[in-house]
């Protein structure tokens, strides 16, 4: 009984995190971008520093009419946002926040699970792109698929490097085996992982699938109202998951200078710091062209990941 209750509690906690943290990241993006770009608009809503801008956005999205295009495949069109969102919710379950079972569900193959489920998210983009009966949407969906397939490989290789270093694919196991010098050791892998993750999330500068200047808004062109908000939410949830994972795998997760009880704080700090980097990158770098995108993955990231893998292997053999 207690296990069931505990499981329920954990699920609720994960859900709460899932529902709040992406919003926080979204609000942060608003603010950070506004500051970086000197934009004044988001500074007014709610008075102080425009704190209610996010609420205003939510209200706006909720008010908008939910339109399904006449030529669209209705059910898939409506299902697509959920498919895009749900994997991140599932992934969150497996990410450890603090030591001692401070995790939704510790999985034996946690890293594997996380990567596998994250890969499903692209199905949402594809479904949305195809079901919209819009050629821009279709192009966006196809671009999403191509991009995902291209960047899945370096991401997996970089993650494999960490798993190799730790000798396990369990996320808690990886964190348990963490030493501070892993950070410089795995830094290249971290870079590859983070970059590939950005590409999978279709965040700038890898946002070719939603390139508004070319194909309006890619797969999401036809979406309005809450469904569009769900896609945005899934993007922020994706940022959250990616940053948390990067923090866990490459930055030591709950490991920090102070007491072990503050491990969850370290995790959150690292996650949000990385989220800030994601936002920072968005306003810093211009969008890559499609061919540049692909070349970057195949000719730069994958060799880099392989080099990291080799380095990890060598060091692992040396120290053992």
């Amino acid at each position: 009984m207690t296990t069931a209750l505990e499981a329920l509690l954990r699920c609720v906690a994960v859900l709460v995190v899932f529902l709040t943290f992406p919003l926080v990241i979204g609000q942060t993006e608003h603010k950070v971008m506004a500051h970086m770009q000197g934009r004044l608009g988001p500074m007014y809503a709610g008075g102080f520093h425009g704190w209610a801008q996010l609420v205003a956005d939510g209200v706006k999205f909720a008010q908008k009419e939910d339109i399904v295009p006449a030529g669209a495949d209705r059910r898939i069109f409506q299902l697509a946002p959920a498919v895009a969102l749900l994997p991140y919710l599932l992934v969150l379950i497996a990410i450890p926040v603090g030591p001692g079972g401070f995790v939704g569900q510790a999985l034996d193959a946690g890293l594997f699970f996380v990567l596998a489920v994250m890969g499903i998210g692209v199905l949402g983009s594809l479904m949305a792109g195809w079901a919209s009966a819009n050629k821009f949407s279709l192009l966006g969906g196809v671009r999403s698929a191509a991009q995902l397939l291209a960047y899945e490989l370096p991401m997996l290789l970089a993650a494999a490097s960490v798993a190799m270093a730790a000798g396990t694919v369990s996320l808690t196991g990886i964190l348990g085996a963490f030493h501070w010098w892993w950070v410089p050791w795995q830094i290249v892998g971290g870079f590859v992982f983070f970059t590939s993750g950005l590409a999978e999330l279709q965040r700038p500068p890898f946002d070719m699938p939603v390139a508004d200047s070319e194909i309006i808004f890619g797969a999401y062109t036809e979406y309005t109202g809450l469904r569009f908000a769900l896609f945005l939410l899934s993007e922020y949830a994706g940022i959250l998951v990616l940053c948390a994972l990067t923090a866990v795998l490459f930055l030591g997760g709950w490991h920090g200078p102070l007491s072990a009880d503050l491990g969850w704080l370290w995790t959150l700090l690292k996650t949000f710091a990385l989220a800030f980097v994601v936002i920072w990158l968005r306003v810093t770098y211009p969008r890559l062209r499609e061919d540049q995108l692909m070349r970057f993955a195949w000719t730069f990231l994958i060799p880099l990941a392989l080099a990291q893998l080799a380095l990890t292997g060598i060091v692992k053999v040396v120290i053992s």
Partner: protein, 191 residues
């Protein structure tokens, strides 16, 4: 006959009439998988077929989990749901799958195929049931580190006993990669 069957089974202590919880879940998920598979091969909307395939393959991943083959389950999710189905959808979109029903999704061979499939199913199910109706497999308790399908167990056998096939497979993958690139490359004089 059924009574005799039930009697023979119950005599061994495991009856079909008193299923365990895992069995119930397995059967339910199995029904879902089967339904999704039938829809995959029968729907006249091409992309729906691919999506039903996602459901079927995902359900199979759950079945693997129920069979304590955890690693296989996640591999199933990673490869099939994350890559294969995406590739299939990719292919469908590139071959301009239409929205809505395609009246010609099934070839003229469908009734022959249906008859064959039914006969084959009857034959196979009869044979399988005949062979394994009394066979009971003990599922190891989940959570133990040395379970059947854990990553560690799989990794150990894979890199201890199956290294050579594994490497051969990597060569095969490489060949497939090269082949796919060659096939899909557009020749300059064509373009």
């Amino acid at each position: 006959m059924t009574a005799a069957l039930a009697a023979s089974l119950s005599s061994q202590g495991h009856s079909f009439l008193s299923p365990t919880g895992v069995e119930i879940v397995f059967v339910l998920v199995g029904l879902a998988v089967l339904g999704a598979a039938v829809l995959t091969v029968s729907t006249s909307q091409l992309v729906h077929a691919a999506l039903w395939l996602v459901v079927a393959l995902g359900g199979l991943a759950i079945e693997y989990l129920l069979l304590t083959a955890e690693f296989i389950a996640w591999v199933q999710v990673l490869i099939y749901l994350g890559s294969v189905v995406v590739l299939v959808l990719f292919g469908l979109m590139l071959t301009r799958a239409p929205i809505g029903r395609s009246p010609d999704a099934d070839s003229g061979n469908r009734w022959v195929a249906l008859g064959l499939a039914v006969v084959a199913a009857g034959t196979l199910v009869t044979l399988v049931v005949d062979a394994f109706r009394c066979t009971w497999m003990d599922l190891p308790a989940s959570g133990s580190t040395s379970v059947n399908g854990s990553t560690q167990a799989n990794g150990e056998v894979l890199f201890r006993y199956w290294v050579l096939p594994f490497e051969a497979l990597s060569v095969l993958l490489l060949a497939a990669l090269v082949g796919a690139i060659v096939l899909s490359r557009r020749h300059r004089e064509e373009g």
